[in-house]
């Protein structure tokens, strides 16, 4: 099982505890995480299903490369982090 984590900044707005997923790639991992809470998807992906600007996804510490289809491989035991910068002022 891989695990998907979200930041405390995102948890402030939407219910998104870390979840265990059975996935071969990031797309599958995200789909399982979003299945728990459909609102979560809208915070991470834009209307076109693309990763929102200034958000990053790391698999085992490395930033994924496929930002449109999320085909980057996931291993059993992988740690997947959905991260973001913060904007404002």
């Amino acid at each position: 099982m891989a695990k998907v984590h979200f930041t405390s900044n995102l948890r402030r707005h939407v219910d998104c505890p870390s979840v265990e997923v059975q996935a071969l790639n990031v797309a599958e991992a995200l789909a399982q995480a979003f299945a728990r809470n459909e609102r979560l998807k809208t915070y991470v992906l834009d209307d076109q299903g693309h990763l929102r600007k200034h958000m990053r996804i790391l698999v085992d510490g490395a930033a994924i490369k496929d930002l449109r289809s999320f085909n980057d491989a996931v291993q059993p035991g992988s740690e997947i982090w959905v991260m973001q910068a913060l904007s404002g002022g």
């Binding site: 939407v14 915070y43 834009d46 209307d47 076109q48 600007k53 973001q84 910068a85 913060l86 904007s87």
Partner: protein, 367 residues
């Protein structure tokens, strides 16, 4: 007279209430978050709030009448952009098919319970028939070939900031776009026609300066009691229409015709208010003196109203949705970029400061 006000700010939603000693902050919601616009639906008592979470996107929340808690509802969402479609704005730059801002939020007609309208950047108009549970893009306007002439004014993308649902017929809707002119539908949004004829910029090539699709109305309002009459605060001045927003004529005001907001008296179409500033390249009050201008004769003359407003080193800008009038036409209010909120109980003759310490005010509405 209305006794409640919703103030949307960079750091939360503030509810003001009118008591014996004037207006005070009564409640707060979304503290720390960017609330860009709010709406009170008088038909059923619901409040709506639009938020911009920056990297997490645009969200909408709803609070039912008498409830303390807000519930997140659906956000207007653009359809999938067809693969290979070239969709550029008037600058020739690609249009993002994703909600960047909810820039207008209005209720449908009095007998259309649950119907809401939302104007967005990058220029899509959305309709909900179920209090924001779902939204439908007005494809007829979005797919209109002239949309590719629209362009961002101060922002990167064009946007709909004004929606006027005609009190005579809720299927007649007019929207104003920065920059894209004024568009009119008389069939509930099934078909649209440009309606900014007569508006013009004061410089640039004539073909562009007078092109309806290039016009930059900053805010458009319709007189509820005389709905054939409209006012627009335009980037290049003030315009009025007396023919159902079909044609527009320019009106000059002192100390400036530049500004963002405009309100019209709910019964008297000849009475309207503006907040002038030095024109576009500066956008600050003339001579550091904040004033409101009011016409009572359809724009032939204007009076500059300053009692109670700062007349020295005031650099407040009143954004387009941050000047409001109540249902009675007696109370006005405005909130500024420097966090000041003023109210007037005498149609702008005098103003009282409610707070000087709020965050930057984006929008203000009586509720």
């Amino acid at each position: 007279m209305q006794k409640r006000m919703l103030v949307s700010t960079r750091k939360g939603l503030f509810e003001l209430g009118r008591g014996r000693n004037g207006w005070v902050v009564k409640d707060t919601s979304f503290l720390g978050d960017n609330v860009t616009l709010a709406l009170h639906d008088a038909r059923d008592g619901t409040d709506y709030a639009a938020l911009n979470h920056g990297h997490f996107g645009i969200k909408l929340h709803r609070r039912d009448k008498g409830k303390k808690t807000w519930v997140e509802i659906a956000t207007p969402k653009y359809p999938e952009k067809p693969e290979g479609l070239v969709d550029n704005d008037g600058w020739g730059k690609p249009v993002t098919w994703s909600t960047q801002l909810i820039w207008a939020l209005e209720t449908g007609g009095p007998r259309q319970k649950g119907v809401l309208w939302a104007g967005t950047m990058p220029g899509g108009l959305f309709r909900s028939s179920d209090r924001g549970e779902t939204w439908q893009l007005m494809e007829s306007l979005w797919r209109h070939p002239d949309r590719n002439k629209w362009l961002g004014g101060g922002a990167d993308l064009p946007g709909i900031h004004s929606i006027c649902v005609d009190p005579r017929d809720a299927n007649t809707i007019r929207v104003a776009i920065s920059c894209g002119g004024v568009w009119r539908s008389e069939d509930g949004g099934q078909s649209w026609a440009q309606s900014a004829h007569g508006m013009k910029f004061d410089n640039g090539p004539k073909s562009e300066a007078e092109s309806p699709d290039a016009q930059d109305p900053h805010m458009m309002v319709q007189c509820a009691g005389a709905p054939s009459k409209f006012w627009v605060q335009h980037h290049a001045g003030i315009f009025k229409s007396v023919d159902d927003a079909k044609t527009w004529t320019e009106v000059k005001a002192a100390p400036s015709s530049f500004g963002f907001g405009v309100v019209v008296h709910p019964k008297d179409p000849d009475t309207a208010w503006f907040v002038p500033g030095i024109k576009d390249e500066k956008r600050i009050p003339v001579d550091g003196k904040l004033v409101v201008t009011r016409t009572r004769d359809g724009g032939r003359t204007f009076k500059s109203l300053k009692k109670g407003l700062p007349q020295k080193h005031a650099y407040d800008v009143i954004f387009r949705h941050a000047l409001a009038i109540d249902d009675s036409g007696k109370q006005l209010a405005m909130g500024s970029t420097t966090g000041n909120v003023w109210v007037s109980g005498d149609q702008g003759d005098s103003w009282a400061l409610v707070s000087s310490t709020l965050p930057q005010v984006y929008a203000l509405r009586f509720a």
